[in-house]
Symmetry: C2
Subunit: 151 residues, 2 copies
DNA sequence: TATTGTTATACTCTATAACTATA
DNA sequence: TATAGTTATAGAGTATAACAATA
């Protein structure tokens, strides 16, 4: 099957990742609306659960966002009782963030919502392709040094 | 290998698509800076090449963006001579957009840039996984009714 | 009265830079 | 003087709503 060379970028893996990724993020944001969370809040909560209590600057580095954004997200999560800020006694400049019970509850709900979304997204695929996609994306995530649970 | 159930959404396909997709879009935007284009401009040019000259509202529907955004993007592309607007004589409300030679040149350059990005992204994968990823993403793009060349 | 395109406006997201407190 | 965090500000991107022209 001779494949003529592409005449636009829409068939590239990069472009499709961008478009599909934006769509999934938008759908995920819709599902999270019930929980009054946004995807970035979930990323912060996930970073805390995976890495443990960390200073805000470390969280910003893991999330690859500006420190000022972590301040805003942490303000909002703290106001809802999902996280607590604790001054590090040995260096009183540092704020260590950690999950509360409410934060754990929210993160569990957000995790369930993401799993449900995965089901719907991958419904058109057969079992082998589903497994292949999960495996390949994990490999790319690791290669790109993104936040991952299994380290 | 018993896999414990996920405790965060970061390992889901949806979340990884979102993060990887955002990263690729940012990298693509960097490469396009040389051409003074943004990914949305490329999407519009691609829509014209794939679908042929279309009214602006049709382009907005294909791109899944607001019509007012198509006006802005088309203004910018027209100012650079990449597209032309032609009033439809049979319905003078309609503006039909079509690529100029310069538009074709830009789109070809943007296509080459996306192909180069794909090479870098998929470098950590073996040939079989590369092919599997392209095939699976195409299937998902079709299932989600996204702009595709091969229709 | 309905539709296409345009303009005006506003909102969300996020970064940069200036500032405070602590080291 | 350097670093962690915070606040203030600004910019990009995009949508919604009001409007104009044409059907």
């Amino acid at each position: 099957m001779a494949k003529r060379s592409a005449r636009t970028p829409v068939g590239t893996v990069s472009f499709r990742l961008g478009v599909l990724g934006a769509g999934q993020e938008a759908r995920y944001a819709e599902r999270l609306a019930d929980l009054e969370l946004k995807p970035k809040h979930v990323a912060l909560l996930s970073a805390l659960r995976i890495k443990g209590a960390e200073s805000q600057l470390e969280v910003a580095a893991v999330m690859r966002v500006a420190p000022s954004l972590v301040v805003l997200l942490a303000d909002q999560l703290e106001a809802r009782g999902a996280i607590e800020r604790v001054r590090d006694p040995s260096d009183r400049r540092r704020q260590r963030l950690h999950l509360t019970e409410e934060g754990v509850r929210l993160l569990d709900a957000a995790t369930a919502a993401a799993a449900a979304l995965d089901e719907e997204l991958t419904a058109p695929l057969d079992a082998a392709d589903r497994a292949a996609l999960a495996r390949i994306l994990e490999r790319l995530a690791i290669a790109n040094d993104l936040l991952a649970e299994d380290i």
